[in-house]
Structure formats: structure tokens, C-alpha cells
């Protein structure tokens, strides 16, 4: 009863009446979600364009000359940082988290709507500060997205003026924004679920977002600590991370600091960050697969445990990013072990996705295509992770294109495919209109095949020993001329994939105006967000009464039922009483 009392208590929902309170200073989680998503996608496109600029340099070193070496480093750095933090983290948690948590849990809004609104505006501020670094003298930082000291703030690295300071300040602001949002997501899941919505009746999308948020809340402080200390090293001249060093023949005032300390802090945040992006993707993909295969998710409880286990383990694997830092081999052994252990729950999830598809009534609609595409790219990216998790294999492959190929498969392409799956899946609910199926399918196939032709060859380049972070290779003995041909091919593929994304934007914008009106529940799904009285849902989400949940979210193709799905709000049917034997439920 506690849940009812809280969810239905006289919550002070603000009543937006003007355009400004409805769409700009809005406290409605759905509007905030869209604001978050649009901002994140906007910076994501900026980062995509940056990648094309440096890809043109790599593919055709002497042809275009669009970027000089400094700009090359700056664009690579900004590309990485924007994609990982300002696009993926913000989109999955600020975007989908905001939209889905209250709707899927049966709440009217987040528990702290005002703080939720602040979260978006502070996030926007962090984006503005980040982009401002393009316009300061010296430009943005070119330290690489890991910002390792001492080079990040030493002469010779581009952007050590305003660039690196703005970067660190922007990260600190982002962390504040994320904390405000994160407190909301966690508390809403814990406190505002509707009557009957137990934790183990939550869709896996909510589980993924919930655990990812906990990871973020515990891991982002490490980045904050590192950012504060590095800012002081840069601005005031403290020596937290800066060792004694000569720069251009001149002895600097620094002394005694430890660059490795920064690496520990950075990766103590950085590795959980991978799962902050991956867990929501895991959750969302589970739901999309189940809906479009008309089958209950295989091993729901196992899936929940796997999410939690992966979340917990992700805090004890960070030093596998530091095998080449000269650490004690015993540490390497420890971290290699934990890294390989984390593959167990992860593989378990992959098996469960595949077993969900097994003998399902699969509808290959656009969201489903993207979800299945994700299984492919994630398996490929995950398998190369097993290579890199072993110290002895990692040492020769470290800093080669093998690593670039690996992490782009596993946390570039895979989450982005899930983002597309999610957008296509919930587009009818968010906008009330259907997208164009043919355009969506074209978008999927060209994106999947295109990204494969970008990243698979990179593994080969890496095994050849082609190092990353080089502006141009010139004549290098161990790099054959054919590697350059491959590089050109990769760039062409990258240009095509980028161009193909126009299909997506055209589809979304065109469908917003001209798309046919969507059915409130076009995929015939069971979860609460499809059962709102209005499509798109109005402020407050539900009518006068909150929904009441009577069953888990995966009652698809239940034998003996007339329909192939039973909404979560449907009371138990006569004859099928609680405690039915589930042996018949494949």
C-alpha cells in the first residue's frame, strides 16, 4: 500500500499553462526527455562531423588538407568525449531514462520535477561550455579523450590555454547535472511505482537504466575529483598529477605528482562509464526483442541478476585500461581475471537474447532489425574484448587500431543501434505518428553494413601494428601500402554511413508532419507506457486513476489466450489463477 499512497498522493504537479512553462521551463519528464535527447543528438552530430574531418585526413593524407596536426588531435579528442559522455550518457539516461521510467513504472512524473528540470538546463550549460572551447584562443583540448596528464596540460599539446580548462569545467558541470537527474531516476524507481508494480515486474529497460544510474552516481565522482585536481594543476600550479619535468629544455615549477594517480581515477570512472552506456542498451534491447518476437524474454530473473552483477563487477576492472602503465604484474593478473569474469553475465545476456528469438513469432519491423543488428555488433565487439582483457595479448595490441575497432564495435555502434531501435520503437508513442517503414529499413541496412565496413578492417590494421593517434603515417617500414588503401576504404565507408543518417532525420521530420496517425499500441505491447489514455501521453501521464499492475511485462503468446499479448494491467483471467504452472510457457 505504501506505493499507492506515494504514487497517488497529492503530488504537487505544476500545471503548465503557457508555452514557456510547457515546452521550455518544463517540469514534465516527457518534455525534459525530449530536450535532453535533442541536445544530445545535436552535439552527437557535431562529433560525427568532426570524425569525418579527421577520417578524411587519415584516408587521404595529402589530398584534402582540411585539418592540420593540432586540429587532428583536437577533433579526435572532442569526438571521443562528446560521443561517450555528452551523447550516449545523456541520451540513454537523460533522454530514455526520463521518458520511460515514469511511464513504465506507472508514475505521473519524476519524484522531484523541479530538480529534473534543473538537470537539463545544467546539462545544456555543460554542452555550451564544451562547445565554447572551439572559440577560445588555441582551440579545444587535443589531449585525447582520456586527458592524461602530464601531456594534457603541457606545452606541445594543442588547447592547453582555455581549451583544457573549459573541458574540465564542462565535465564538472555535466556531473552536477547528471547527479540531479540520477537522484530522480533512482528515487522514482524506488518510490513512485504504481500499485502492483514490484521491482521484479519492471521491464528490463527500467532495470538497465536504474542500475546504470546507480553506477553513474557512484562513478562520476571519480571524474569530478580528477577534474578538480587537474584544473588546479593547470590553473594554480599545484602538483597533484604533474611530475617534475623538463618542457622544451626548461624546468617546470611542477614536481612530485603522479600521472598514474590520474589514470586510476579516470578509469575508476571510465570503466563503469562503459556500462552506464551499455546497461540501458541491454535493457531496451531486451524489451524490443521480446515485443517483436511475441515471446517472453528468456530468463527474466537471470537477466536482472546479470544486470546487477555486471554493474557491481564493473567497479573492479578499471585497471585493464592501464596494462601498459607499468603496473605490478599481479595487478594485471587480478584485473585480467575480473575482466574475464564480467564476460560471464554478459554472455549470459547474449544467450538469453538469442533464446528469446528462438522459435519466436518474429516480426522484422525496423526496431527489431536494429535490435538484432545490435546482437551481431555486440558479439563481435565483445569477443575482441576477450582478446584485450588478457595482459599478454593486450600489450602488443595496445594503442593500435585493434583497440579502436573493438571499442567502436562494442560501445559505439552497438549502443547507437539500440538508440535507433528505441527511437523507432517508441516514436509512435512519443509523437503519435508512424514513421516510414521503407526509409527505416534502408537506414538500418546501410548503417549496419556501413559500420561493419568501417570497423572490421580496423581490427586487421591493428594486428598489422598500425598505431592509433597518428596524423599521417608517411613511409613506415612495417606498414604496407595496402594499409593505406584500406584506410581510404574505411573513410569512404564512414562518409557513406554519415550520409545515410540523413535518411533517419528526413524520416523523423517528415513523419512528424505527414506520418499516418499511430495506434496507441501499434506493436501490441504489454508494458504500461503503451496503455496511456492519450497518445502522446498528456501531462500527468494517466487519467484520473493510476494504472494497476497485475502481471509481469512479458506475457506474450500465452497458450490458451485469445490475444498474443496480455497488458500488465489485465487482472488474472478466470480459470488461470495465481500460481499457474508455467511449464507450458515456452
Amino acid at each position: 500500500m505504501a506505493y499507492v499512497a506515494i504514487a497517488d498522493r497529492d503530488q504537487h504537479l505544476h500545471d503548465p499553462d503557457t508555452f514557456i512553462t510547457k515546452y521550455i521551463w518544463s517540469q514534465d519528464h516527457k518534455v525534459i526527455a525530449i530536450q535532453y535527447a535533442l541536445t544530445a543528438i545535436f552535439v552527437g552530430v557535431v562529433a560525427l562531423v568532426l570524425s569525418l574531418l579527421f577520417r578524411l585526413q587519415l584516408g587521404f593524407p595529402d589530398t584534402f588538407n582540411l585539418v592540420d596536426p593540432n586540429q587532428y588531435y583536437q577533433y579526435v579528442t572532442m569526438h571521443g568525449m562528446i560521443m561517450v559522455i555528452y551523447l550516449l550518457t545523456a541520451l540513454f539516461l537523460g533522454g530514455f531514462g526520463n521518458y520511460l521510467i515514469p511511464l513504465m513504472c506507472g508514475a505521473r512524473d519524476m519524484v522531484f520535477p523541479y530538480m529534473n528540470m534543473l538537470s537539463f538546463w545544467v546539462y545544456l550549460l555543460s554542452v555550451i561550455v564544451l562547445l565554447a572551447s572551439f572559440f577560445v584562443p588555441g582551440g579545444p583540448t587535443g589531449a585525447g579523450w582520456t586527458l592524461y596528464p602530464p601531456q594534457a596540460i603541457s606545452e606541445g599539446t594543442p588547447g592547453i590555454g582555455g581549451g583544457i580548462v573549459l573541458m574540465l569545467v564542462s565535465l564538472a558541470i555535466f556531473i552536477v547535472a547528471f547527479t540531479m537527474g540520477g537522484l530522480n531516476y533512482v528515487t522514482t524507481v524506488l518510490q513512485a511505482r504504481t500499485r502492483g508494480m514490484t521491482l521484479m515486474r519492471m521491464p528490463l529497460a527500467v532495470w538497465g537504466i536504474f542500475v546504470a544510474t546507480i553506477l553513474g552516481l557512484l562513478a562520476f565522482p571519480a571524474l569530478l575529483v580528477a577534474a578538480v585536481m587537474m584544473t588546479l594543476d593547470r590553473v594554480v600550479g599545484t602538483s597533484f598529477f604533474m611530475p617534475e619535468m623538463l618542457s622544451l629544455g626548461r624546468e617546470l615549477d611542477y614536481g612530485g605528482g603522479s600521472p598514474i594517480l590520474f589514470q586510476h581515477l579516470f578509469w575508476f570512472f571510465g570503466h563503469p562509464e562503459v556500462y552506464i552506456v551499455a546497461l540501458p542498451a541491454f535493457g531496451i534491447v531486451s524489451d524490443v526483442l521480446s515485443v517483436h518476437a511475441r515471446k517472453n524474454i528468456f530468463g527474466y530473473r537471470m537477466m536482472v541478476w546479470a544486470i546487477v552483477l555486471i554493474g557491481a563487477l564493473s567497479f573492479v576492472v578499471w585497471a585493464h585500461h592501464m596494462y601498459v602503465s607499468g603496473m605490478n604484474p599481479y595487478f594485471g593478473f587480478f584485473f585480467a581475471t575480473t575482466t574475464l569474469i564480467i564476460a560471464v553475465p554478459t554472455a549470459l545476456k547474449v544467450y538469453n537474447w538469442i533464446l528469446t528469438l528462438w522459435r519466436g513469432d518474429i516480426h522484422l519491423r525496423v526496431p527489431m532489425l536494429f535490435a538484432i543488428g545490435f546482437i551481431f555488433t555486440f558479439i563481435h565487439g565483445g569477443l575482441t574484448g576477450l582478446f584485450l582483457g588478457n595482459v599478454t595479448v593486450d600489450l602488443p595490441l595496445s594503442d593500435t587500431y585493434f583497440v579502436v575497432g573493438h571499442f567502436h564495435m562494442v560501445m559505439g555502434v552497438s549502443p547507437v543501434l539500440v538508440v535507433f531501435a528505441a527511437i523507432y520503437h517508441w516514436f509512435p508513442k512519443i509523437t503519435g505518428r508512424m514513421f516510414n517503414e521503407a526509409l527505416g529499413k534502408a537506414h538500418f541496412w546501410l548503417t549496419l553494413l556501413g559500420t561493419y565496413s568501417i570497423y572490421l578492417p580496423m581490427h586487421y590494421l591493428g594486428i598489422l601494428g598500425v598505431p592509433r593517434r597518428y596524423y599521417a603515417y608517411g613511409d613506415t617500414d612495417f606498414i604496407p601500402a595496402s594499409a593505406q588503401t584500406l584506410n581510404s576504404g574505411i573513410t569512404v565507408a564512414a562518409l557513406i554511413v554519415a550520409a545515410v543518417q540523413v535518411l533517419f532525420f528526413v524520416n523523423v521530420i517528415w513523419s512528424l508532419w505527414r506520418g499516418p496517425k499511430a495506434d496507441p499500441n501499434p506493436w501490441r505491447a504489454t508494458t504500461l507506457e503503451w496503455l496511456t489514455p492519450d497518445t502522446p501521453p498528456k501531462h500527468g501521464n494517466w487519467g484520473p486513476e493510476l494504472p494497476e499492475v497485475h502481471r509481469w511485462p512479458y506475457d506474450y503468446s500465452v497458450p490458451g489466450e485469445a490475444e498474443d499479448f496480455i497488458p500488465q494491467t489485465e487482472p488474472p483471467h478466470a480459470g488461470v489463477v495465481a500460481g499457474r504452472d508455467h511449464g507450458v510457457h515456452h
Binding site: 528515487t187 542500475v211 562513478a219 517472453n296 530473473r301 499492475v549 512479458y554 488474472p572
Partner: protein, 224 residues
């Protein structure tokens, strides 16, 4: 390093605990009908939100403590003198916590006479603590210990500043509660009185927590 692993284990333990708490051995695919969940987390959202926030702050200060510990092992570490004023400040902060605890007791007994002076005292004592910390900074600067002199000094300034900022944030919530109390609660609707009660209770939790953080930080500073 070992401490970091411990810390991570703690984070994991919290997750697992959350889990066990909710009896995850249920079989959601079997059970139908409305299930009433036991009162594992049926507190006010604000209370849960505060505890989640405390977990975040623990992560922040915990990481700082670990980094402090690691950095202080390096040979260039020159510990700064322990200003005597810090003892006085610590006493003031303890008193602030005591005052809030008494305010909390008063508000639970609906004793508005006892609430007002205690709540006011808590705010004044907290402001005195913050002023005292600034005074310590001035003393240190006057004796030549600047932010960039040595990492030991830098840590001292960062940690005290961070702790002070958290207290200042708490003062904002304190001010809202105190404002309502000063205006007089007698004629107010019941819901508002309940809000003030919650607010005072949560302030006391937050103050006790920040007192604990301060005692640990102070111990850390004294030990090096």
C-alpha cells in the same frame, strides 16, 4: 589501491543489499494479481533521495580520501601545521549537530517552543563553523601556506572547501525550514507542518553525516 578495491566492494555490497531487500527470488511470470510489496522502502521520496545523495557524497569524499592517502606517500609531501582553531571549529560543528538533533526531537513532539531556538542555533553555529574555517584559511595564508605550496596544503584547501560547500548547500534547505518556522506554524495547514517536520528531520540527518565526514577528514589531516 587496496582501499579502492575495498571501496568498490562496498559499492557492490550496496547493490546486492538493495537486491536482497526486495526479495528477488520471486517468480514474476507465475504470480498474477496485485502484489503488495512489504514496506522495504516506503519512506518519503525526499528521505530516499537524501540517502541516495549521501551515497554519492560518500563516493566523492571517499575517493578524495583515497587519493589523499596515496599522494601523501610521496617523498615531496610536507605536512602543514594543524591550526588550533580547527579544534574549536570542530566543537562548533558538533554543537550545531546537537542543536539540530534537539530541533528534530522538538518537531517530533510537536513542541514548537523548543523547535524555534534549536533550529536557529543550528544555523548560527553552522555559519560560525564556516566563518571559523575561513579564518583558518587566512591564518594559513598569513603563515605562507598557499594552495600551490605543497600538495598537503592543496588538499587541505580543497577538502575544507568541498566540505564547506556541502554545508552551505544544506543551509539553503535549513533556511527554508527556518523561514517557515519563524513565520509561525500554528495557523498553517497540517500538510505544511508535516513538510517542515520532514525538512528538519532530513536536515539533521545531513548535518550528522557532514559532521562524520568532517571528523574523518580532520583525522586524516591530523594523521599526516
Amino acid at each position: 589501491m587496496n582501499i579502492s578495491v575495498l571501496f568498490a566492494a562496498l559499492g557492490g555490497a550496496i547493490l546486492v543489499w538493495l537486491f536482497l531487500l526486495q526479495r528477488l527470488k520471486t517468480k514474476p511470470w507465475v504470480e498474477q494479481g496485485v502484489i503488495e510489496e512489504g514496506g522495504a522502502v516506503n519512506a518519503a521520496p525526499e528521505r530516499v533521495g537524501l540517502w541516495v545523495f549521501l551515497a554519492v557524497v560518500t563516493s566523492l569524499f571517499g575517493l578524495f580520501a583515497i587519493v589523499y592517502n596515496m599522494r601523501s606517500q610521496f617523498p615531496d609531501w610536507r605536512p602543514l601545521p594543524d591550526p588550533g582553531l580547527l579544534w574549536a571549529n570542530t566543537a562548533v560543528l558538533i554543537l550545531a549537530s546537537v542543536a539540530l538533533q534537539r530541533a528534530r526531537g522538538a518537531v517530533a513532539r510537536e513542541d514548537l517552543e523548543g523547535l524555534k531556538p534549536n533550529l536557529t542555533a543550528a544555523g548560527v553555529l553552522t555559519l560560525a563553523f564556516l566563518g571559523g574555517q575561513l579564518l583558518v584559511w587566512r591564518q594559513l595564508i598569513a603563515s605562507g601556506y598557499y594552495l600551490a605550496t605543497n600538495p598537503a596544503d592543496a588538499f587541505f584547501y580543497i577538502l575544507t572547501a568541498l566540505h564547506g560547500l556541502h554545508l552551505a548547500g544544506g543551509l539553503w534547505f535549513w533556511a527554508r525550514a527556518a523561514g517557515a518556522v519563524w513565520k509561525g506554524l500554528e495557523s498553517r495547514p497540517v500538510t505544511e507542518v508535516a513538510r517542515v517536520r520532514l525538512s528538519v528531520t532530513l536536515c539533521s540527518v545531513y548535518w550528522h553525516y557532514l559532521l562524520l565526514v568532517w571528523l574523518i577528514l580532520f583525522g586524516l589531516l591530523l594523521s599526516t
